[in-house]
Symmetry: C2
Subunit: 339 residues, 2 copies
């Protein structure tokens, strides 16, 4: 039951430990015969080098830490999937952490990830202060930040979709269809100042010269239930709203259901606009209009940036353009299709 070590192989093959090392690591300076003989023994004994021991020397753990707000949100599940698939292709593993949008948890999990020995970190940190992120970057690298923007730092790559632009596209879509009384369901976990979707919402209404009474904005937790509850609140407070822009698709799907339960027909009486384009968006009824960007690709790119930094610490890999676009479906069509 004891694990077989490199010394076991060496003894069995009648060579030294470092010759075995050469054979298994495909290094030069070893004769073909010796390599084959050693590898045969490796095979026979079922030897697999201990990564932990290797890490001690190489300072590489082949592990990348990934902090996510909540893996239960399909958006983050997609990103993690993209990251994990890509990492696996390069022999890397993902150490996963959920921060629940809590700054303290994020900071804490980050420190456990790092002492754990990870080769790089992918994080969202929506709620962590800029200072803390930058201070952390001072003594750790490489870090990839997803959809979070702070001041440039050599240890930091920011992979950010233009959220403000996306939210503006959403609002423009609604405004151009004649909506003026547009409610917003915002994420209560995000401070007002940092909330790019909320800012875009307000800016857009303002640009069109419409008022933005505070009761048109409802804060809620970014889940199906949160969206459901917020919508009821919104429509009870002001039944004249003709559209609702939700922080994310999860909330928007909850909103659709809330409208139905309150007797509103979507989109005939009220339009619903989401954000994220999660898989369920096109299959609910009415299918959800939303803002799309490549979640899987974001996770994928995050890994590629980490790996690139690991191999070329001084080069900077250019950041691929991260597209964001409007997806127009049924939930914002003023003309109802069928009953």
């Amino acid at each position: 039951m004891r694990r077989v070590t490199i010394d076991d192989v060496a003894r069995e093959a009648g060579v030294s430990r470092q010759t075995v090392s050469r054979a298994i690591n495909h290094k030069r300076d070893i004769s073909v015969e010796t390599r084959e003989r050693v590898l045969a023994v490796v095979q026979r004994l079922g030897f697999r080098p201990n990564r932990v021991a290797q890490s001690m020397i190489t300072q590489r753990t082949y592990t990348i830490g990934m902090e996510v707000i909540d893996i239960t949100n399909p958006v983050f599940a997609e990103m993690v999937r993209g990251a994990q698939d890509t990492a696996a292709a390069y022999g890397y593993n993902i150490l996963l952490t959920n921060s629940n949008d809590d700054s303290d948890i994020a900071i804490h999990s980050l420190s456990t990830l790092v002492t754990h020995g990870i080769d790089g970190l992918i994080a969202m940190f929506p709620n962590v202060a800029d200072d803390e992120i930058l201070a952390f970057a001072d003594h750790y690298h490489p870090i990839v930040l997803i959809n979070r923007v702070v001041a440039p730092h050599p240890h930091l790559t920011m992979l950010s979709v233009d959220i403000y632009r996306g939210a503006t596209l959403a609002m423009e879509h609604l405004l151009q269809r004649g909506h003026t009384a547009i409610g917003m369901i915002a994420n209560r976990h995000h401070p007002h100042a940092k909330n790019r979707r909320l800012t875009a919402y307000q800016d857009s209404l303002q640009r069109y010269g419409f008022p933005t009474p505070p009761q048109w904005v409802q804060m809620a937790v970014p889940t199906l239930q949160g969206g459901y509850a917020a919508t009821r609140e919104l429509l009870q407070t002001d039944p004249t709203l003709t559209a609702i822009f939700a922080y994310n698709d999860l909330m928007a799907v909850g909103a659709i259901r809330a409208c139905r339960d309150m007797g509103y027909s979507v989109p005939k009486e009220i339009a619903i606009m989401g954000f994220d384009d999660i898989p369920i968006a096109e299959l609910v009824h009415p299918a959800l209009s939303t803002i799309r960007y490549d979640k899987y690709g974001l996770g994928q790119q995050a890994i590629l940036h980490i790996l690139h930094h690991l191999n070329h610490p001084n080069e900077t890999l250019p950041i691929a353009d991260l597209a964001i676009e409007l997806v127009e479906r049924e939930s914002t069509q003023t003309t109802v299709k069928t009953c």
Copy 2:
């Protein structure tokens, strides 16, 4: 930029390396004064012991590997969330892997997880042969299998919901409501013999004396799209079906949409039954009837079993009863509520 090591602290505090070790690990055999002095230096230098080096000695990595079919499926996201939350509470991290229901990938990722040095493994292995699982268990432990049953093994804990019973509950529900022409959307990744839901489907129909023509079973990938496509197929082949039992909720939600798109009213003309009770199930329209069990709790328990085995290798922690129950919602109500 160099990491501070235990020797730096020792030098700075004017003590030996092992005294520092005693201080940070809260060991006995150290005077209060020395401990405090050392800890002050630890604080000042920002020393954090290198886990990798610790692992070399203690043979503990404080990492648990978790193989999941697809993190993108809300069922597995829930389980992972339960596992991660619980692991974090005990200072453990989760190394995540997606097997995509592919036996080769599962086996491969498993071996990378293990060489990586994990303290335990949580896996689904739906498609991995019993022999392989048992052979693996011979030289690795502890392992927790989720919803996968093989022969008992001292290194193996099986945390299994009674899938067959759940599927039977689903079928009974449909049969008692008078349905006789019930289609099934099965998971194409699972071999027929292992498919507990499919077996329950066939057994149930048979028990009631109804035929089970092969064209009533449609194999598909276990996703929203898979369910959508399979439903179209099913209803095109036999438009007389009055109910469909789907492998999981994702497929069932796809089925609801497919029915709508084909002009069938759910549940008036056709009833849809899911499995899993994912969050979206109660918010789609019509709300999905399904089979519920505690996904989060399964992940949670998996971790607790691993930790218990680690601390008491010879004891066996009793397995908590894993309830499974029918959740009756709108999608199987023969009387339609509103239009």
